[in-house]
Structure formats: C-alpha cells, structure tokens
C-alpha cells in the first residue's frame, strides 16, 4: 500500500478544489434558467467564476470544507485499520497544505485540534465487497448546509403546507418544506439526499449517502423517480433562488431512497447540500493503493469553464 496515503491526499485535494462534472452541469443549467440581471443571476455568475478559480489555483471552493466523510469499500481480507490510519494521515496533510480548513473542534473545551483529527473526525464508513479493488468516496459538506438538514416524524403539521400524513403525499410536503426552511442559509441552490423510513440515526446516514448518487442519474424505483421529478419541478417554483435572493432555481438535485421502518415510526430525513457539492471518489489497486480510476469523472471529457 505504498501509494495509499498519496492517493488519498489527491482525492481530498481534488474533492475540495474541483467540482465534479454532474454538479458543474447542474449549475450551468441553473445559470441558464435564471432571469438575467437579477441578484440571483449575479450570484450565480460569481459562483461560476469561483468554481473556475478554485480549479485553476487548486484552492478550496468553499472555506468550509465540512466534516470529511469517507465511504470505503474493501475486498475481503484487506486491512481496514491500515486504511483508517492512511486516511487520518492524508486528512492532516491536506489540512497542512490548506486544502482543508482545520474544522475539528472539541465539543467540551472548544479547542480546535488544528489538523482535522479528533474524537470521531474524520468520519469513515467501511463496507466489504466482492470486488478486487478498493473504492473510496469522499464528501465534504459544510456546516452551513449541514445545519439546514431536517428530520420529520410523520404525521406532522408543516408551515404553509398543513398536515403531512404517513404516505408519499406527506413525504412530498416534508421535502418541499425542507427546501423552504433552508431559504438561502444552506447556500442555495442546493441538492437534497432524502431517506423515507428507517430510524432517526440510520435515516440521516442513508439520506447523506444519497448524495453519493450523481445528479443526472435515474432512481430505479419508479415511484421514487416520479417523486424526485415532482420535487425538482415544484421546489424550483417557490422562488428561493441563489443565496435566497429570490429566483428561478432553488434546487439542483433531489435523490430519495426508502428503507423499512418500525410500525410506530415514520421519519423523513433530509440532508441538504449546498451548491458547492464537493463529492468525488477513486478506485485503488488493493496491493499498491495507487489510483486506477476516478469516479464521477469522465476522462474523455475535459473540464469546461463555468464562467460565461
């Protein structure tokens, strides 16, 4: 695993500084649909320049590089303890290089560890799989949008929408409410990862995992695919706009999964991600740790500039 740490530093650096093509495409679409000359339109053009500048200078797209969250798949027999150590070393090194902000704060003393390492940071989820390579996916989701995550327990009463019951109609209302309550505070236009069902803790995890889907994919479950389309259409009609300035685009993606629930519980968990939707992944050779493939990227397609 000679190259493992170096590969992970590259993953962190690229995730923090270079938005993936699906997010770029969604933001391009957002720019195209916003009314020219509005404050939202101006905000979107600054955002576009910022995306370009971050890639050019290899600087963090947003200063809030979030709670680094890794999702790792390993072949049976690979030493996960070694991978965990390499992830921590790579996180500390990327922080030293200014690709990550020191974001790990002791909740009791308020002290910032300075290197992004500390109790339960970074977050790492391991899963085994029956493939030969290691897969590491990373999401850097800032605190502003993390604070706008929301969990509903159905049935409930919602501002402006009334009663939300224990059915897909109730779920739909919750998701629309989630977009509305975020306003511009989660850096709209945002993307949602949603979990219908499960319990409070796992529901939030599954909701966040939906953010590992690409924005342009299709949900394999027909009723969820329909709901995703409906939410995209309706949420973009309420007029939050970029940064909450009022405008045509409030949402760039909505990805929904469903998990079984207890008879007594019906949760809808929503993870709100900002437009600076930093998510990438790599496939690694299981013996050397070298990168064999980038996920979410198309090597045949050059990165296009965002600014017009």
């Amino acid at each position: 695993m000679h190259f493992l740490e170096e590969s992970l530093i590259e993953l962190i650096t690229q995730t923090s500084t270079n938005l993936p093509p699906d997010v770029r495409a969604a933001m391009s679409l957002a720019m195209g649909s916003e009314t020219a000359g509005t404050q939202s339109s101006q905000a979107l053009s600054i955002i576009a320049s910022n995306i370009d500048m971050a890639a050019e200078d290899e600087g963090p797209i947003c200063q809030d590089t979030g709670m680094p969250t890794f999702s790792v798949h390993t072949p049976v027999g690979v030493n996960q303890i070694e991978i965990k150590k390499a992830i921590k070393a790579a996180v500390a090194e990327a922080t030293k290089r200014g690709k990550l902000r020191p974001n790990s704060v002791d909740s009791l003393t308020g002290k910032n560890s300075g290197n992004n390492l500390g109790a339960e940071t970074p977050v790492i989820h391991f899963e085994q799989w029956e493939q030969d390579e290691i897969e590491v996916k990373l999401i850097l989701k800032g605190g502003g949008c993390e604070n706008k995550n929301i969990q509903y327990s159905l049935p409930c009463e919602l501002d402006h929408l009334g009663k939300a019951g224990r059915d897909l109609e109730g779920v739909r209302k919750c998701i629309l409410h989630a977009v509305w309550q975020a306003q511009g505070q989660g850096c709209a236009p945002g993307a949602l990862g949603v979990c219908i069902g499960s319990d409070r803790a796992h529901g939030y995890l599954l909701a966040k995992e939906q953010l590992f889907r690409t924005l342009d994919d299709a949900n394999p479950v027909p009723e969820l695919a329909r709901l995703e389309d409906e939410i995209m259409r309706e949420a973009n009609s309420i007029g939050v706009g970029a940064m909450g300035f009022g405008g045509q685009v409030s949402l760039i993606g909505c990805k929904i999964t469903a998990a079984n629930r207890l008879p007594a519980s019906f949760f809808v968990s929503v993870a709100y991600d900002c437009w600076a939707y930093r998510r990438l992944g790599v496939r690694l050779d299981a013996s050397s740790g070298a990168i064999t493939q980038w996920l979410y990227r198309d090597p045949s397609r050059p990165v296009e500039k965002m600014a017009r």
Partner: protein, 175 residues
C-alpha cells in the same frame, strides 16, 4: 444604502463568527481593536502561515443567523456600521441596523476563492486561541462585492423572500 444595492468594499474589515460574538458580549474588544464605523465579516477563513506572514487560502462568508442573539449588542456596544455574511439575520438585528444606522451585506456563500482574491493582506489577528476559523482577523480588502439585503430603513430582502416563498409553498398544498 438600501436593499438591492450592490456594493464594492475597499478598506479594512474584521472577521468574527460564533466564538468572537459569544466572547464580545462578555468581554471588551481585544487591545488595539477599534470597531467604531467598522465592517464586521462573518467568515471563518482558511489561512496558512508562511514564516511570519499569514496567507488567505479561502475566505467566503458563513451563515449569519447563528449570530442573531448577539449581533444587536455588538453593533450597539462597538459601533459596527456594516455586517457582511450570508443568509440574512432576524428582527433584532434589523432593529439594531435601524437604530444605529448600519447595514447587512450579503456576500455570495461558498465563493471562497473569489473573495480570497479580494483580500490584499492580513493586517493582524486576535483571539487566535479560538482556532483559525474562529479567530478575529483584520483584513485589507479591495472591491469586495456584496448586496445590501437589510438596510437601516427597516427593510429586509430575507423577510420578503421568506414571505413570498411561503405563499407559493402554500399553493403547492394539494390536500
């Protein structure tokens, strides 16, 4: 200045976010800091130290609503005239802006590289014991772009948008 105006700021500003606000409602300003007429920027930057010099690596705005419990007192006690952040603030701050002739400026959230290029120099730092993102940085900026979204005449774009979007949300209620 009124809601909707786009402004370009050139001069000095101080950063301050959660820890600084909580600190300043209980303690005096750090020695040498004068906020009379100052611009306060809700920002937790990425900074690297090269020798003795701090370099700004990323510096967009952070969500301002968390400072709502403190902001009115900070404006009143220290004479701050402009607050830069994102996402807007609430009624208490809006009243303080009116009373003390100050404005709230919304910068573009996430545009950390764009804004880093507007910062010419780190002039100093206080309260670094709070950590790099939470410290009080003194910055020299040029042409720092932001939009007036809360003014000293009692207007708030955020309150207007929340109301309008709420009305449109209600139209989507099917049952």
């Amino acid at each position: 200045m009124k809601v909707g105006d786009v402004v370009l700021i050139t001069g000095e500003c101080y950063t301050g976010r959660d820890a600084v606000h909580a600190h300043l409602v209980k303690h005096p300003l750090p020695e040498g800091v004068d906020m009379r007429g100052a611009v306060l920027y809700h920002c937790g930057p990425v900074m690297l130290k090269n020798g003795e010099v701090w370099a700004v690596k990323a510096a967009g705005p952070t969500t301002s609503s968390r400072e709502e419990p403190y902001q009115a007192d900070i404006i009143k006690n220290f004479g701050v005239r402009a607050v830069i952040g994102k996402g807007g603030m609430g009624k208490k701050t809006l009243a303080a802006l009116k009373e003390h002739g100050a404005v709230y400026l919304n910068a573009i959230g996430g545009a950390a590289q764009y804004y880093a290029r507007s910062i010419d120099k780190v002039l100093g730092v206080n309260l670094l014991e709070f950590g790099i993102p939470e410290a009080m940085w003194k910055l020299q900026v040029h042409d720092f772009i932001a939009i007036v979204t809360m003014d000293s005449h009692g207007n708030s774009l955020h309150a207007d948008v929340e109301k309008d979007t709420g009305a449109r949300l209600a139209e989507l209620q099917k049952v």
